[in-house]
């Protein structure tokens, strides 16, 4: 699919995402102005109070945005999924440039002018309004420009917490390994940054002719800005109060999860008639778990082995029934229900290229250990850290690689193997790309990996209040085979089809 075809077929969605992106950036920048300018004034006036604030803003700036979302998710009021937490994070990032330039602008004012104003009998407030702020204005506007442009970029990360915006396409494209979809989000995002920068340049130029002479117009502009901030705050407050007639379905940020999210969502829609909100593409196991516990989503699909080791930190167990029961009990204690497994298992798949496998005659991990010292490995971040991940695997099979394994994003890992940047990766057993790229999955001959049966995790309170949802979801148990899953994954990853369409087709055939 070409880029223009993609935009044409996704026009509605595109404009929704554009709207979300603009709202995220505008709302956060406006609040950052409302907070940052007074803080900058304070910092210029009282360096002893101001210096620590500027220091703090500096520190905030160095925190990677994804990490920041992680910190804030569990917090009350600002935390949770969606626009609220995203705007909060964007405000934090926008503060530094605005505070900095406000302080710098005020400090660079000629002392003589301050003395002249004071000697004419201006009170400190009058001096600030009539002399200092107008003179610092060009510098402040420059800071706002920087803040807004940074905001456009950072807002793409907001898709990881379900806030929407062009980051949706970027994350979706990454998980589908489809550059067209990545570009569909990245190009408009870059254009948006340029547009906003250009618009603010015009404002800046306008202000130069504007100063003083049209104080009334300036006042009107300030009033409009305050109104906008108030309106945004109002919209956010309303959107924060969510209705109860909606079921929210989440998913992690890879293809299989998005398809499963669609399957769950469409099943509820068609069997209960309830409205379903999709919060798909959330940034990983931990974000999904926190979201379902806090009620930001009502259900998502988890894997029993992942829950056992990554969420509950229980010791590794290889019996699938025992694992399921143990995890189910733990979930129940937290007000969550683990429904019966969907029918397929998505274990970690240790993959090598097919030509290597046939040339070396390697079929299982024990055999692979002999060749590993001359290989490079690429693993996802989670696999490198998890209890059931790389450290235990290396111990079990005595694996040693040429270099310490490279940490890379799951979405890039298959391509990295195909392009010979690495020689062994940890992928998903159900990935459609395994067949598409002709990879060979090494057999776990010492049974290291725990079982990873896919099953729906849902909030018990929702299932209790809406038995029809419970029935609909129960209908999915045992209905998705490994072959089904691989086929669907391949349809999306290799054939670049829409996850929602693939899910719809599957449900139609299954019925």
């Amino acid at each position: 699919m070409t880029l223009f075809q993609f935009w044409r077929t996704h026009a509605n969605e595109f404009f929704t995402l554009l709207g979300q992106h603009v709202v995220l950036v505008c709302a956060s920048t406006l609040v950052a102005i409302a907070v940052g300018v007074p803080v900058g004034v304070l910092a210029a006036r009282r360096p002893r109070i101001g210096a620590p604030i500027v220091w703090l803003a500096n520190v905030v700036q160095t925190i990677p945005s994804l990490a920041m979302f992680g910190f804030l998710l569990p917090l009350p009021l600002i935390g949770g999924l969606g626009a609220r937490v995203a705007i909060f994070v964007l405000i934090l990032y926008a503060l530094l440039p605005i505070v900095r330039t406000t302080t710098a602008g005020l400090r660079s004012i000629d002392r003589v002018l301050i003395e002249a104003g004071t000697a004419m009998g201006m009170t400190p407030g009058q001096l600030m309004r009539r002399v200092e702020l107008p003179l610092a204005l060009p510098s402040i506007v420059a800071g706002i420009r920087v803040a807004a442009v940074i905001g456009v970029g950072t807002a793409t990360i907001a898709a990881a917490v379900g806030a929407g915006g062009f980051g949706e396409y970027i994350f979706r494209g990454l998980s589908m390994v489809d550059s067209t979809v990545i570009l569909a989000g990245a190009i408009p995002s870059a254009l948006l940054a340029l547009t906003i920068d250009g618009a603010l340049t015009l404002v800046e130029r306008g202000l130069k002719d504007f100063r003083g002479a049209h104080r009334r117009r300036l006042r009107a502009a300030a009033a409009v800005m305050i109104l906008l901030v108030a309106a945004t705050a109002g919209v956010l407050a309303i959107s924060a109060r969510r209705s109860n007639d909606v079921i929210r379905i989440g998913s992690k940020n890879f293809t299989e999860q998005i398809i499963l999210g669609e399957i769950v969502a469409q099943t509820i829609e068609s069997r209960t008639g309830l409205r379903v909100e999709r919060r798909l593409n959330l940034g990983g196991t931990f974000i999904c778990d926190r979201a379902v516990r806090s009620g930001d989503i009502d259900a998502y699909v988890e894997y029993t082995g992942t829950a056992q080791t990554a969420i509950f930190h229980l010791p590794v167990d290889t019996d699938s029934r025992r694992v399921f029961e143990a995890v189910k009990a733990r979930y129940a204690a937290g007000g969550l229900a683990l429904l019966d497994p969907l029918g397929f298992e998505n274990t970690f798949a240790m993959l090598i290229r097919g030509d290597d496998a046939s040339r070396l005659g390697v079929r299982n991990l024990s055999q692979a250990a002999a060749f590993a010292p001359s290989w490079r490995a690429g693993f996802g971040y989670e696999f490198l850290e998890r209890q059931d991940g790389y450290p235990g695997l290396a111990r079990t099979y005595g694996l040693h690689f040429a270099r310490p394994p490279t940490a890379m994003d799951l979405s890039l890992i298959y391509r990295a193997l195909a392009e010979r940047q690495v020689d062994l990766i940890a992928g998903d057993a159900t990935s459609g790309l395994i067949d598409a790229y002709g990879f060979t999955m090494l057999e776990d001959d010492r049974h290291y990996f725990p079982p990873y049966d896919a099953a729906v995790v849902a909030r018990s309170s929702v299932l209790l209040a809406r038995p029809e949802v419970k029935n609909a979801l129960a209908g999915l148990s045992g209905h998705i085979s490994v072959a089904d899953m691989r086929r669907m994954n391949r349809a999306v990853d290799a054939d670049h089809r829409d996850a929602a369409d693939v899910a719809r087709e599957f449900l139609r055939r299954d019925r």
Binding site: L113, T118, A119, G121, P134, G212
Partner: protein, 247 residues
């Protein structure tokens, strides 16, 4: 009026028992070398500074008893760097204090026109200009107009014409005398230039070592034999010697 004023900047004494009386409507020029404390005296009058000991009285009231903003609005201030606000037009600069006092638009406009005419700048041409579109002499005139805007009884001038070339300076001196003839303010002017003091003032005081060495009418100061005054007169005497007796 200053009564036995002491003022220090850190451990450095600037004024040591300084006393001075200024009559309403007089133009007093205070002459002294750089660092003699001339600007300090002006700042004590409009309460940008307060004395360590002693009293500074304005209109028979000690400065700490005044509301500082009201006091400053009653004392126009002209400084060497002029300090026109670059973001405002000439008209708006002149209107600063009237605006602070809450005058209505019509009254402010009338006053701006009147003042620009007084300092010899065409209101139609200059009111809408920016400070950076003016020459040094024109800016200095606007500085005087701005200080006079709310018709303050007192005018404080800190080396007001120091940065101008001699020709412009002589011109603006004439202008100042003409204006002062009409407005009759109580003017305190500080300068390091005795010639300027003689050209503008009804009374001249010489400041040395933190006290007033001599004060009186220009003629009497010119005849002074005080060792602290002579050096300041030297350049004038030299100039006079070069020019020779007038024919």
């Amino acid at each position: 009026m200053f009564r036995d004023v002491h003022f220090s900047r850190g451990v450095q004494p600037v004024l040591r028992g300084f006393s001075l009386e200024i009559a309403a409507g007089d133009t007093l020029a205070l002459v002294g070398r750089s660092g003699a404390g001339k600007s300090t005296i002006l700042k004590l009058i409009n309460r940008l500074l307060v004395p360590d000991s002693g009293e500074v009285m304005v209109e028979s009231r000690p400065t700490p008893a005044w509301d500082r903003f009201e006091l400053r609005r009653r004392a126009g201030y002209v400084m060497q760097e002029v300090g026109l606000f670059p973001h405002l037009t000439i008209g708006e600069n002149i209107a600063t204090v009237p605006r602070l006092l809450g005058w209505d638009d019509a009254r402010v406009d009338r006053r701006v026109t009147e003042l620009l005419e007084l300092v010899g700048l065409d209101p139609k041409d200059y009111a809408g200009r920016r400070p950076d579109q003016l020459s040094g002499g024109q800016r200095q005139r606007v500085g005087v107009a701005r200080a006079l805007a709310a018709d303050p009884p007192i005018l404080l001038m800190d080396e007001p014409f120091g940065a101008l070339d001699p020709v412009t300076r002589a011109e603006i001196h004439r202008e100042f005398r003409r204006i002062q003839e009409r407005v009759r303010k109580t003017v305190v002017l500080v300068t390091h230039d005795m010639a300027e003091a003689f050209a503008l003032a009804t009374h001249v005081g010489v400041l040395a070592d933190g006290v007033l060495a001599v004060v009186g009418e220009p003629a009497s100061v010119a005849r002074s034999n005080d060792a602290r005054v002579r050096p300041l007169l030297e350049p004038l005497i030299e100039a006079a010697a070069v020019l020779g007796p007038r024919p």
